[in-house]
C-alpha cells in the first residue's frame, strides 16, 4: 500500500514537473535555433520556383533561398536548414505550435492572419494575383463567361475566398470543389472533374507544366485579387521578427547596390558607403540584430541578392521564365522597395 502511494505521488510530481518545465522553456527563437544547430523552415510541399525538393531531397525555390539566407546569416552555412513541407491548410498551425521557426510558403499577407492568428509577416517577397486556368475545348476567353462552371481550388487559401467573392459579386453560379492539396486539385482539374482551376497567377503558369497536355489549357486574362506573398513568424519574439524581416530587406538592398554573390568580395573592399554598411565594414547593424557584423556578407556570398534568386528560380535562368514585372526593384520600374540598412 505504502509503495503504491509513493509511486503515485512520484508519478504525479513527475507530470507536474513536465508541465511547468514546458511553461518555463520559452527562450528566444534565435537561441533555440542556435542550440538546435539548424533552422526549421515551413515550405510549400512542391511548387516549382518557390519551394520544391528534387529526387535527392535538395530544395530549391525563391522561398527556399530565403530560408537558406537566414541560415547563412546565423550559421554561415546555407545548408543548416530543415525544410518541412506543409500544405496550405496546415501551415499556420505548424508555425503557431512552434514546429517551424519561419514560414516561407508563398503565403498571402492578410489582416485576419496577422491580427487573428498570431502571425507577423516580415515583408513582401513576391507580388502576385489570382487567376483561372481552363481547358481549351471550352472555347471561352474571359472569366466572366464561367457562370455554371465547376472550379477546382485548394482549401484553406485566400484563393477559395476570392473565388466566392468573384462569382457572387458578378452574380454567377458555380460549383466549388475544394481539395486539401494543390496537387489533388490540379489532378481533378486535369482529369476533367472541373472546368477551371484557380490559384495565384504565378502558380497557374508553374502548375500548367505538370498537366498531361499543357498546351490544351489556357490562362484567362482576369486577375481577380492582389496576393502579396510574405514569409511569416510567430508574434511575441521581436528579435526573431527583426532578423527575418531584415534578411529579407537586405536581399533587396544588395540587389539595389549591385552586390552579388560573385562580386561581394570586391565590394567589401570598395569605398561605396552603402556596400560598406551592408557588408558590415562600417557600423554594427548585424550585432544589433543579434547576429554577427558580417551577417549580410554571409548570405549574399552563399545565396545571392533578391534578383539573383528570382532569376535562378522563377526568371530568365529558370524553366519558368517569369518576367520580373512589378517584382522588379523600384529603381527598375517595379514596386519592390526595401528600407535601407543604415
Amino acid at each position: 500500500m505504502k509503495t503504491a502511494l509513493l509511486r503515485l505521488a512520484f508519478l504525479l510530481s513527475l507530470g507536474l514537473a513536465a508541465v511547468f518545465a514546458a511553461g518555463a522553456a520559452s527562450a528566444g527563437t534565435l537561441d533555440q535555433v542556435k542550440q538546435r544547430g539548424y533552422l526549421n523552415c515551413g515550405s510549400n510541399p512542391g511548387l516549382a520556383g518557390f519551394g520544391l525538393p528534387d529526387s535527392n531531397g535538395n530544395w530549391t525555390g525563391l522561398d527556399v533561398d530565403f530560408c537558406r539566407a537566414i541560415a547563412s546569416a546565423i550559421f554561415d552555412d546555407p545548408n543548416k536548414v530543415k525544410f518541412i513541407p506543409l500544405t496550405a491548410k496546415d501551415r499556420f498551425t505548424a508555425l503557431q505550435s512552434g514546429e517551424v521557426d519561419v514560414l516561407a510558403h508563398n503565403t498571402t499577407w492578410t489582416v485576419s492572419r496577422e491580427a487573428g492568428q498570431g502571425l507577423l509577416f516580415t515583408g513582401i517577397n513576391y507580388y502576385d494575383g489570382q487567376g483561372f486556368m481552363i481547358h481549351n475545348r471550352l472555347n471561352i476567353s474571359s472569366a466572366l463567361e464561367l457562370s455554371g462552371a465547376s472550379i477546382c481550388v485548394q482549401q484553406g487559401t485566400t484563393s477559395e475566398l476570392n473565388l466566392a467573392d468573384f462569382f457572387h459579386s458578378h452574380q454567377m453560379q458555380y460549383e466549388s470543389v475544394a481539395f486539401a492539396t494543390s496537387d489533388e486539385a490540379l489532378k481533378a482539374y486535369d482529369t476533367g472533374r472541373c472546368d477551371a482551376f484557380t490559384t495565384d497567377s504565378s502558380a497557374l503558369y508553374i502548375e500548367r507544366l505538370k498537366l498531361a497536355n499543357p498546351s490544351q489549357n489556357i490562362i484567362l486574362p482576369e486577375i481577380i485579387s492582389k496576393e502579396p506573398f510574405s514569409p511569416a513568424v510567430r508574434q511575441g519574439d521581436d528579435q526573431w521578427f527583426n532578423i527575418v524581416k531584415w534578411v529579407g530587406f537586405a536581399m533587396f538592398d544588395a540587389e539595389e547596390a549591385g552586390i552579388t554573390s560573385k562580386n561581394v568580395d570586391e565590394k567589401i573592399n570598395s569605398d561605396d558607403p552603402t556596400a560598406r554598411r551592408l557588408l558590415g565594414v562600417e557600423g554594427d547593424f548585424g550585432q544589433s540584430l543579434g547576429l554577427t557584423k558580417d551577417w549580410a556578407y554571409r548570405f549574399i556570398k552563399a545565396v545571392g541578392n533578391y534578383g539573383e534568386s528570382f532569376d535562378r528560380n522563377l526568371g530568365v535562368d529558370s524553366k519558368l521564365g517569369i518576367k520580373r514585372g512589378i517584382n522588379a526593384l523600384w529603381t527598375h520600374g517595379g514596386i519592390q522597395y526595401a528600407p535601407p540598412v543604415r
Partner: protein, 330 residues
C-alpha cells in the same frame, strides 16, 4: 501499475478510495494546470482560444450543402453543413453495407459452391486492401474515366452520368412536381445530383465495411449449435421456418455487438473524405474553418467531441436494439 491493482485487491475499501480520490484530484490538477498554461501561452501569442469566430461570416462556398448555405453564412453554419454531409455518407453507407454484408455472409454459407467461393473471393479482395486506396481507386481510376458532361451517358428516365456526377429527376414540393436535369452551359442543372466525391466515398465505405459485416454474419450463423437446426427439423419445421424462428434469432445475439463496432468504424472512416474533396465535417470544419480562423484548439476539440458523441449515441442505440431484438431469445 501491477502494484497498484494489487493494492486495490489487498487493501481495505477505505485505503482504496483514498488512493483513487488522490489520483483523480492529482490528475484534475494536472489537467487544469496544463490547460491554464496552454491558454495563457495562446493568448500571449494572439492565437484564438474560444468560439468567437462561430458567428463570423465564412466567406467560402461548400458543395453540396443540404441546408441553406452561402458564402455569407457563418462558420457555425459551415460546421453544420459538414456535419450533415458526414452523417449522410455514414447513414447511406451503413444501410447499404448492411444489405450487402448480410447477403454476402449468407452466400458464404451457401451449399452452392460457386456462390460460396465467389463470396469468399469478394471478402478477401476488399478486406485486405487499405480503404484509402480503394477510395482513391474509385475516385481517380473509375469515376474520372467517365465522359465529360457534353458526352454524358444517358439512361431512361432522365438519368445522366458523366465525370461531374450522376444526375436524376427530383421531386419538388411547391409546386408539386418533378424537376428534371437539363443540359445548360457547362453541365446539367435541375434535378438531383450525386457528386463523384460522394459516390466514390460511399461506394468504398460500403464495399469495404460489407466484408467485415459478412464475416460477422457468417460467424454468427455458424456459431449457433448444429443441434438447434436438427431440433427444429425434429419439431417439424421446414428449412425456411427453422432459419427464421430458430437460427437467425440466436445468431443475431452474436452478430449485433460486433456489428455495432463496424457501424462506428464506417462512421469514423468517412473522414477519409478529405483525400478526395468531399466536404465532410473534417474537410470543412477541421480543414477550411480551422485554416481561415486559426482556432486550432477549439475547432479540433469540437470535431473530436462530435465523433465521440455520435459514436456513443450509435453504441447506445445498438445496445438498445440488442436488448430488444436479440436479447429477447433466452
Amino acid at each position: 501499475m501491477a502494484t497498484l491493482s494489487g493494492a486495490f485487491r489487498r487493501g481495505n475499501a477505505a485505503h482504496s478510495a483514498l488512493v483513487q480520490i488522490a489520483f483523480v484530484l492529482g490528475l484534475g490538477f494536472l489537467v487544469y494546470e496544463a490547460a491554464t498554461l496552454a491558454l495563457a501561452h495562446m493568448r500571449e501569442h494572439h492565437i484564438p482560444t474560444d468560439f468567437g469566430f462561430w458567428n463570423e461570416r465564412a466567406g467560402f462556398d461548400i458543395d453540396p450543402h443540404l441546408i441553406a448555405y452561402s458564402f455569407t453564412s457563418t462558420y457555425g453554419r459551415a460546421f453544420f453543413v459538414g456535419l450533415i454531409n458526414t452523417l449522410v455518407v455514414s447513414a447511406v453507407g451503413v444501410v447499404f453495407a448492411s444489405l450487402l454484408g448480410f447477403a454476402i455472409g449468407a452466400a458464404r454459407l451457401s451449399t452452392n459452391l460457386v456462390i460460396a467461393k465467389f463470396a469468399g473471393f469478394y471478402i478477401e479482395a476488399f478486406r485486405n486492401v487499405p480503404l484509402l486506396l480503394q477510395i482513391l481507386f474509385w475516385y481517380n481510376g473509375v469515376l474520372k474515366a467517365l465522359p465529360a458532361p457534353r458526352a454524358s451517358l444517358a439512361f431512361p428516365g432522365h438519368i445522366f452520368l458523366n465525370d461531374r456526377g450522376l444526375f436524376m429527376p427530383a421531386p419538388t414540393l411547391s409546386p408539386l412536381g418533378l424537376s428534371l436535369p437539363v443540359f445548360h452551359g457547362f453541365n446539367f442543372i435541375g434535378g438531383m445530383k450525386l457528386s463523384p466525391e460522394f459516390v466514390a466515398l460511399t461506394l468504398s465505405l460500403v464495399l469495404y465495411t460489407a466484408t467485415f459485416i459478412a464475416e460477422i454474419v457468417r460467424a454468427g450463423i455458424a456459431g449457433v449449435p448444429k443441434g438447434q437446426g436438427e431440433a427444429a427439423a425434429a419439431l417439424g419445421l421446414n428449412a425456411v421456418q427453422a432459419r427464421k424462428f430458430v437460427i437467425v434469432p440466436q445468431a443475431l445475439r452474436l452478430i449485433v455487438p460486433p456489428l455495432t463496432s463496424q457501424y462506428l468504424n464506417l462512421f469514423k472512416n468517412s473522414s477519409l473524405a478529405v483525400f478526395i474533396g468531399y466536404p465532410d465535417l473534417v474537410q470543412v470544419f477541421a480543414g477550411t474553418v480551422l485554416n481561415q480562423t486559426g482556432a486550432a484548439v477549439p475547432v479540433i476539440t469540437v470535431t473530436m467531441a462530435v465523433y465521440l458523441f455520435v459514436s456513443l449515441l450509435g453504441s447506445l442505440a445498438m445496445n438498445l436494439f440488442n436488448r430488444r431484438i436479440a436479447g429477447a431469445v433466452h
